[in-house]
Amino acid sequence: MKLRPRKRFGIARIGVYAFLISAAAFFVLPLYIMLVTSVKPMEEIQLGNIFALPVSITFEPWRDAWSTACTGVACEGIRGGFMNSLAIAIPSVILPILFGALNGYALSFWRPRGANVLFGILMLGAFIPVQVMMFPLVRILATLGLFSSLPGIVLVHLVFSMPVMTLLFRNYYASLPQELFKAARIDGGGFLRIFFQLMLPMSTPIVIVAAIMQVTGVWNDYILGLVFAGRDNLPMTVQLNNVINTTTGVRLYNVNMAATILTSLVPLTIYFVSGRWFVRGIAAGAVKG
């Protein structure tokens, strides 16, 4: 039985709950306000009762946000952004995981000389603001003919996710027994064979963690999509910001909030469904190193 400090009843106990419940209220409040606002007609919003439940519920703002809201020049809603984000996210999840796994495997088991120096630089890279590398990257991609294209933005995501993905898999493989690898070597397994037939099938848990982190990270990215994706591939976050911050005329707050929820729907769904896996990603990416 656990022995944490506790009193079954008493002021301290009440205090604990009071604090936790008020904190929970503070954390839920924005989500509540978003939801409520998104189904109110504009006349109700203009009354200024942000907390009030809607008197007459309308789903028109959701439809407008999805298909008719103006994102700068065009008025086609953010559905195009959704498709773009999807097109960016799928390769930007698969490729970084594959490269991260391969890097982690080579670093943990094959340990080529000098690789740790590279790994150290890569880890430092995780902390550096993307602006430091932005202009040269733009030039490099332009030279390769990839600037403002789907492959270009995927490549950029691959660059910036490599530190975390490599770290994740390196730590995971380091926790596996070395004997496993040695036995496979004695059986004559080569580099790729051991990777694909032994290591990758054992990596399911960490692949799930990595996928959750990547989907969330790529979907929530703003600055990379803004600079590298190009006008035809702007992700949902960029279009959302355009809907809200660059529209002129009357601000349709209900449409704005519906668009915000729609944009957050993918990462929020992943979060609520994946539960502890999401937390594991934080722990695996952060606590070990």
């Binding site: 009762n49 094959w110 340990r111 630089i121 902390f127 202009f135 929530n220 959302l240 722990a283 190193g289």
Partner: protein, 294 residues
């Protein structure tokens, strides 16, 4: 397989990583460093003007304001997030009912983008139609909460929004640390009659210093990278009151076509990051080496 062949195959596998590190990270950084010593405007120039761009940078009021803003924001954001996150973790660790629900509630903002976070809070803090108006409608006619349109207070609104977003992260890290603490400590503290808050402050908190360091490093990184939330919430305004260095760099890279100045600013940011994380890395690698030799 010979040792040489073994080395060779693994280097082939690490080839992409080597290219990414050498070109994507090191190469681009050196390139940025080079540009910062030139007089480049829209396109990179080959000349060498020494530290002229850096001198210009530190005579630029907008840059100095950005740095000030970031320092103020960073101190408040890190302090508040660590405090709230730690408090939530400790309280959740008191064997409360509904722990799972509470944890889910505290962490969900972390799954949201900074853009969405900024937009929601921009809407809630809008004085005409948001919280201020709602409280006034409820009868408190003199209530005032218009920080987002107040040049002197707008940075605080960014702190509020991002603390909301990131506190759950600290809670998750701290809770993991708390759950790893030996139960014996609580037993003996109880026998000695030490009050719980003292145990937390004098025994548990020092034991959690690795978790604390991790959280601190993650939050500092977030501070230095602060950009999306500003763009979504205040666009640097009102006026230039909530400008931050990353936005200064972006504006000079793309809007104002002054890539040399932007590069100088980038190098300053880079040095700041290195100064911040170098001690952390050093401590980590020493700890690793000790572990390996033990």
């Amino acid at each position: 397989m010979s040792r040489f062949a073994r080395q060779a195959t693994s280097w082939v596998a690490l080839g992409p990583m080597a290219v990414f590190v050498l070109v994507g990270y090191l190469g681009t950084m050196l390139w940025t460093l080079r540009i910062s010593f030139s007089s480049s405007r829209t396109f990179p120039a080959d000349d060498f003007v020494g530290l002229a761009q850096y001198i210009k940078l530190f005579n630029n009021d907008r840059w100095l304001l950005s740095l000030n803003n970031l320092a103020l924001y960073g101190v408040l954001f890190i302090a508040a997030t660590l405090l709230i996150g730690f408090l939530l973790a400790v309280l959740i660790d008191q064997k409360v009912r509904g722990e799972g629900v509470l944890r889910t509630i505290f962490l969900y903002p972390y799954a949201m983008s900074f853009v969405a976070t900024g937009l929601v809070w921009q809407w809630m803090l809008n004085p005409e139609i948001g919280l201020q108006q709602a409280v006034r409608n409820a009868g408190f006619v003199d209530f005032s909460f218009d920080w987002i349109t107040d040049q002197d207070r707008v940075m605080y609104t960014l702190v509020i929004a991002t603390v909301w977003q990131a506190s759950g992260l600290v809670m998750a890290i701290m809770l993991a640390g708390l759950r790893g603490i030996d139960e014996e400590i609580w037993k003996s503290a109880r026998i000695d009659g030490i009050p719980a808050w003292r145990v937390y402050l004098s025994i548990v908190l020092p034991m959690l210093s690795p978790s604390l360091a991790t959280a601190f490093v993650l939050l500092s990184t977030a501070v230095i990278k602060l950009f999306d939330a500003v763009v979504a919430m205040t666009q640097g305004g009102p006026g230039v009151a909530s400008e931050v260095p990353t936005k200064f760099i972006m504006d000079h890279l793309f809007g104002r076509a002054n890539i040399a100045l932007a590069s100088a600013a980038s190098v300053v940011m880079l040095c700041t990051v290195l100064a911040l994380v170098a001690p952390y890395f050093y401590a980590r690698s020493r700890a690793d080496r000790r572990k390996e030799s033990a």
